[in-house]
């Protein structure tokens, strides 16, 4: 394992320290317990937005703290949910009296730790609503699993709910917008290589020289099935088709297409996948009216990508277009 780190045990804190210094105009990084808040504190009257989860998915979530998106983020250890004692102060810091929406990716650990923190926050008098992101169609039968996982669609939920909060929606309204994004977003990913958790020191799973893992999660956990390496057009199809089918996309619909890198794949390859996925949508009569291509919800240095489609309507598109000023999304 070769990584640009000092003590692997300090990887998360060292990285956050650098992040805080580089983006002092946008965020404030707190050390004990670890959490990140928007520079300047909560906006009076605005619903606060908090998200969090295991580290290793950078820029998620801390990179999305700032005007128009999150008010606070809570990074856990690598691939490990943060703890309630971290989440609670983040919720409190995000509260400006209008209540707080927590955006939680659907993993047992995240759900349980956020649940506990929300109970504590409510006991302290903060009004809290929660939305669970579960966009990963690789998890087929939620009856026999912990339910679909939250993956790259999370960034779309955070952006659009953030814009709704800025628009002045109340807590129920922001939560409703977030739920509408969740209902209309689906993702699926592929891994070309595994990733290595710093303090583990060896890859999180074993993948042959000519294999890829389809339906990969974002925690270095293996996916749905393993297939032989294939051209980008084929891989794009095996990601896009289940996503579009699950959404039930119909001729004439309009979507946002996100091709997300897992951290170790060059941008140039992501654009190849984007081009292929877009063509498949066009063939279905679906218009891609908004796009995002890059490393937004990653798995350390994993090579691979995911395809996310969000069904758009005028309101969601407008909220997507609304200004945002964070370390990782900025317009």
């Amino acid at each position: 394992m070769k990584k640009l780190l000092d003590d692997p045990a300090d990887a998360v804190v060292d990285s956050l320290t650098g992040f805080g210094l580089a983006h002092a105009d946008v965020v404030e990084v707190h050390a004990d317990p670890v959490h990140v808040t928007r520079a300047g504190g909560p906006v009076a009257g605005k619903v606060g937005l908090v998200s969090g989860g295991g580290s290793g998915h950078e820029p998620l979530h801390a990179g999305f703290v700032g005007d128009g998106m999150l008010d606070a983020a809570v990074p856990g250890a690598v691939f490990t949910s943060p703890t309630p004692d971290q989440i609670l102060p983040a919720i409190q810091a995000a509260d400006a009296g209008a209540g707080v929406l927590t955006i939680v990716k659907n993993y047992t650990g995240d759900v349980l730790n956020f649940e506990t923190a929300v109970e504590l926050a409510e006991a302290e008098g903060v009004e809290v609503a929660s939305v669970l992101v579960n966009d990963d169609v690789a998890v087929e039968d939620s009856l026999y699993t912990a339910g679909r996982r939250g993956v790259a669609g999370t960034v779309l939920v955070e952006k659009i709910a953030g814009a709704a909060a800025v628009r002045g929606d109340d807590l129920a309204g922001v939560a409703a917008v977030a739920e509408r994004v969740v209902a209309n977003v689906r993702s699926m990913g592929v891994a070309l290589t595994a990733c290595t958790v710093p303090h583990v020191g060896r890859p999180s799973f074993d993948l042959g020289e000519d294999e890829v893992e389809i339906g990969i999660g974002i925690h270095g956990e293996p996916g749905r099935h393993r297939v032989a390496m294939a051209p980008a057009a084929e891989i794009a199809r095996s990601l896009l088709d289940p996503v579009a089918d699950d959404l039930g996309l119909a001729d004439g619909e309009r979507v946002l297409l996100l091709v997300n890198g897992m951290g170790g794949t060059p941008l140039s390859e992501l654009y190849v996948v984007y081009g292929r996925a877009r063509r498949l949508l066009t063939e279905r009569g679906v218009t891609v009216s908004r796009s995002l291509v890059g490393n937004y919800v990653t798995s350390l240095e994993m090579q691979g990508a995911s395809v996310t489609v969000l069904r758009l309507d005028d309101e969601l598109q407008e909220l997507w277009d609304a200004p945002v000023r964070t370390a990782a999304l900025h317009w």
Partner: protein, 217 residues
Amino acid sequence: MGLDVVWAERWVRRTAEAVAGAKDELTELDRQIGDGDHGENLHRGFQAVIAKLDEPDAPERTEVGDVLKLVATTLMSKVGGASGPLYGTAFLRAAKRSARPEVDTSGVVVLLEAALEGVTSRGKATPGEKTMVDALTPAVEAANAAVEAGQGPVEALRAAAEAADAGALATVPMVATKGRASYLGERSAGHEDPGARSTALILAAALDAALAGADGE
């Protein structure tokens, strides 16, 4: 000999040692069907517990529940992941039901039952889903049987520890339907569940601590 505060502290320290020793094994199990952090998660948690235990000006702990509550709150605030709140709640419920200086045979059963109830109330898993519940459920049953057979608390712990070990082993062929391993579907079969294994370790440490006490150690 009773299971008192000294036993409880010794249990916690033995657990911390056992987890430190098994860290890589637990992580490897989690690497197979999860995300490879279970060993590190628990190790981080129990190191924090030991640090709390060793705090010089901590208030005196007089009841078994005092020790278990310290474990609970520390695991909840330091572990994260799924196992943090699950073990945290388990120890919290166990602490509530052991608010006395010493635990007798039926107290062991009460304690374990409370722990199991804590895990299932949070995690909603039932036996056979390939989780820590598959180690804890037979442990409770075995302890119960020991009580009914009129055995002492150490024997109840021994029965529980052995049953938990067997329960953990029995998770190998199971297909997971809760937790991260569930995402693997059929591919989760053939591997032991890391949480079930760590539960077995924790109960083995409880027995060790009791035996060490009995030996006057």
